[in-house]
Symmetry: C2
């Protein structure tokens, strides 16, 4: 736990909240890193993967507006614009104005995007599971419960 010392924290000294806080940061960055490395093999990034997943799983035939995607992923509108521009340039996604409301842009996954998503998906899940499986089943369950409670508390 030398990592925590970086922040001036000594482990095992009471002060669980500091250990938990900095531990969480360390874990998050490690997880993010591994996932990013995996996705890199497909020319994808976590952000792009998330966008593709949301559109494909929740878009149905009608597609989603940029706003819809953004709010589901907690990504700002301006960030969505640029993310989708790139995805469009890479032909993974199609953007068209909605008939009846020219303000909204309807986003759909292209055939190419869909194929890419399908090919990246199993390994993505496997990578994630592999990372999580460093914890026991019981610990995973514990963590899931903690995170669930915590997000709800943080939202008030």
């Amino acid at each position: 736990m030398d990592d925590l010392q970086a922040f001036g924290i000594e482990a095992g000294k009471g002060r669980h909240y500091e250990e938990a806080f900095y531990g969480l940061i360390l874990v998050y960055t490690a997880l993010f890193d591994r996932i990013a490395k995996y996705l890199d093999g497909f020319g994808l990034t976590p952000a792009k993967m998330n966008v593709l997943m949301v559109i494909k799983h929740q878009g149905g035939a009608e597609g989603l507006s940029q706003r819809d995607i953004g709010s589901r992923l907690m990504v700002t509108a301006s960030n969505m614009t640029r993310l989708l521009e790139k995805l469009e340039r890479e032909k993974l996604v199609e953007r068209s104005s909605r008939a009846g409301d020219k303000r909204v842009k309807v986003i759909r996954v292209s055939a190419r995007g869909s194929r890419l998503l399908d090919s990246a998906w199993p390994g993505y899940m496997k990578t994630m599971k592999g990372l999580m499986d460093r914890l026991s089943q019981a610990e995973q369950k514990q963590l899931a419960g903690l995170m669930f409670r915590w997000t709800r508390e943080l939202k008030r």
Copy 2:
């Protein structure tokens, strides 16, 4: 838990690892956000705050090299260069070449940086504690333990 649905995850369906994974992301971003908002009042960001904390708490009289700081915070060398350039421009930090090894730049907190850090610190800790205290003491301890084990596992 509607947030998790964004990723195509249903809560409470076994699959604790998915809930834990996405829950962790949600929590992390929420925490980061609040901390960033607090620090903004001081013209600081989490990254800058971390750098100042490390230099002040571990730098002693001799200061630290950029490499030292970077490795303690898991920040890349190139990122350190730019971070420290900004901190230097804002006169929060002083950079000088080490006598005896011109490659190394020795970093010290300036008087101004030190004052700023002192003024931001108590509220920073209070904000962090406030965020953590949405969980009970027992949960914090549990979480700290989990994170401790997990970081170690992830490092192999």
